[in-house]
Symmetry: C2
Subunit: 451 residues, 2 copies
């Protein structure tokens, strides 16, 4: 156990007290277990479930937090062979000092549980099965029991507004993410494959003891929103889109996208579109203020993007009408961002219960169906702001709207996809762009790419 | 789908024909599905189950191979949203051309299955559940059905002896693994953390589009056999143990350990122990010949190690007796190696059924209980050869054998753990060390470390 990870015991105790008070009943939260890559003993690195991490602060495989009148961690006892294969185990006493709460053997857990103990089902079925066995009732993501909803709401209430400890984690993630993007820009040259740039970016995280918060997207095909392929060869005229974010040792996520020219210089059409997306992002960041509904942040980006596309002659008509009738969504078919925290889409395991305020629901409009967040912003919330412009062949093939000038669009054929994304902390005064150190203007990007 | 991965369709067809003939009944093999890191949509990179990969050659999430009188892949049809998020799907026709076998929609699969269809349970429970639903019977790793044993044996028979296509994969893994170890030696300096060296090693794999075959071990605490912590600071007098192997895009594993001095020079005690382990490895490699039982390869390493430790005065007595009575196991408590292929411990999902020849079973002797392989070697088999010397406090605390000279041992306190591991292909003439390009002698290692 790497007990050199710094833990803020007071902040964690305050989080636990708050969640327990709002939940109003005992709650059991699983850390989870390592997942197999191939056979059982060959696993992915262990990463605790985010609710556990939020309340305990450490990755403890196989452990549980029980929040009742005597909160404690229940952990598996070391196997006799562990000292040989995994080194001397940290004693429960030392673990307790590190974590700031009692640590007890797992076999004492069951007797403390009752049918009214709340829990939340993690994504991995083995841990769901373990929870179900402990609680004597089904535990599956698709069946959140009524007794668990109070816990979900208590956790959402806590995790939605980042305390100072959480903000330190987000800043640490932002700083490492910035180093990764700088390294990626510098490693870009025509003739290499996208995975070479990805390697340079992820190595910056790895040499800080960090990994990525999600599967990196590094691709000359920015129009594929979640392109998981990295084999594409980079050509001189390509734009490279890199959506890469750090995960700190404590589990906090960064999530940043930059789009840069492989040859280090944007050509005319690329420059024009890039400026439009940049203006849309600036408008959205300006809009992201306490008290503002997040859907209006999305619409601020949509309006600025539409203005830019009208000015370029790609869209024709009145800006407000084009926005109201979703015409921009042919080029910007996703939401402007989402919550960020211990998960890159924070608390997405709880579905729209976390992202949407009570009373609000997801729209089925083409411009809003992928919007993952619709709440009034408040100081301490952290969100991404990530507008884009994409020419998605499968979408445009269905577009017969005469307000889209297909002839004019041909002049922008060298722009398959542009996205610009930063992580933004809402503050009492307005907001702070946590990832502002990363080159973003055309001049900054051109000065960095290729060394 | 990255269809630029080169596939040897003829070799794959030959593998399928061979497995089908030996199995003697229809067989269903699952590729598996991506596993969640945090919430369901945030997954680890997809890596197909090894049996599927062996017979189909490609990572196809959610697909199945049905080996019956009309072998085919059954794959999920793209969702309507996929073109936006994941790009235009490769058509089933193009997939079929690439793979060299028919590809059909998944919903045609169930009607072709019967109660006598054999399968093998993968480590991930979600895929087990899917197989159970398709076959109408329980499918779990802990309950291999009788009908499935014929399939297990047919696959073991095929995968045990690597065909030319498999050997190309192993060579590719060995070459990338060599580059990683060179980079790691060059990146080593006192004052950095182990994760910095690990980052340099894994970046060499990543810039080739590869990942690791298992969680890398990079640690100054070589005495912790599977040390998963990477935060240790490297000090001038430390030995650093790095057990890191590539996984090629096609899924083939490398598995190499080197141990090198942080300051670039072995001091006296380190040099002495290193030479003993190196001699033990040389003896084992010499012994790894066709027709030789693998346990005798282990014992060749044990004998050479014991000779060396007697010469150093750490062990006292007659070498044959010290070997026969397991005295060396206080310092070399694991097996000398294992099968390697698409899994780093090849086919470990099938347990000792793969590693142990029929009629042989695992010994409970301290020197052999962790030996993962005991078969007669044959041309085409690939194994690791990885003897070591460790001072494991938890083990030595229990050692009261007077033939271990504890006073003398104190002179070797600077040597916590040394392991030297290569990947060896058995040939008709003897063997070939696939990873021979990696610095290994004291002179080679000292010439490389630190730049």
């Amino acid at each position: 156990m790497d007990t050199t990870l710094e833990i803020d015991r007071e902040a964690l105790a305050a989080r636990r007290a708050r969640v327990a008070a709002h939940c109003g009943r005992p709650a059991l939260i699983a850390a989870g277990a390592p997942l197999p890559r191939t056979y059982t003993a060959n696993t992915w690195p262990f990463r605790a479930h985010s609710h556990f991490l939020y309340l305990v602060g450490a990755h403890l495989p196989g452990a549980y937090l029980l929040l009742d009148d005597d909160p404690a961690v229940y952990a598996p006892e070391p196997h006799a062979d562990d000292a040989l294969w995994h080194g001397a185990a940290t004693t429960f006493g030392d673990l307790a000092l590190w974590l700031g709460l009692p640590v007890r053997p797992l076999h004492f857990l069951e007797e403390r549980l009752g049918p009214m103990t709340a829990t939340l089902p993690p994504a991995d079925p083995r841990t769901c099965d373990a929870l179900a066995a402990l609680l004597g009732r089904p535990v599956r993501p698709e069946t959140v029991a009524h007794v668990d909803e109070a816990l979900a709401d208590a956790i959402i209430g806590a995790r939605l507004v980042h305390d100072a400890y959480a903000q330190r984690g987000l800043r640490e993630a932002a700083e490492a993410t910035a180093a990764a993007h700088l390294a990626g820009m510098r490693a870009t040259h025509a003739g290499v494959r996208a995975w070479t740039v990805k390697a340079a970016m992820e190595a910056e995280l790895a040499r800080r003891g960090m990994g990525t918060a999600y599967g990196s997207i590094v691709t000359p095909h920015g129009e594929v929103l979640h392109d998981e392929a990295h084999h594409h060869l980079l050509h001189d005229g390509d734009l490279l889109l890199a959506d890469v974010g750090a995960e700190t040792r404590g589990g906090w996520a960064g999530d940043v996208t930059r789009t840069w020219p492989v040859r280090g210089r944007f050509e005319g059409a690329q420059k024009a579109i890039y400026e439009v997306v940049l203006a849309a992002q600036a408008a959205a960041i300006d809009a992201a203020q306490p008290g503002v509904r997040y859907r209006d942040v999305h619409l601020a980006a949509a309006r600025a993007l539409t203005e830019g596309l009208v000015a370029l002659g790609i869209l024709r008509g009145d800006v407000e009408t084009l926005v109201a009738e979703d015409v921009y969504a042919w080029f910007f078919p996703h939401g402007v961002g989402h919550l960020i925290g211990l998960d890159v889409h924070d608390m997405e395991d709880l579905g729209d219960r976390a992202g949407y305020a009570p009373g609000l629901a997801r729209s089925d409009r083409p411009s809003l169906r992928y919007l993952r967040l619709d709440r009034d912003l408040a100081p301490g919330m952290a969100v991404t702001i990530e507008p884009g412009f994409y020419q998605v062949p499968a979408l445009l093939a269905r577009c017969a709207d005469p307000r889209v000038d297909r002839g004019r669009l041909e002049a922008f054929g060298s722009v398959r996809g542009v996205r610009i994304e930063d992580d933004v902390l809402i503050t009492a005064q307005g907001n702070e762009v946590l990832t502002r150190a990363i080159p973003k203007t055309i001049a900054e990007v051109e000065a960095t790419v290729g060394g």
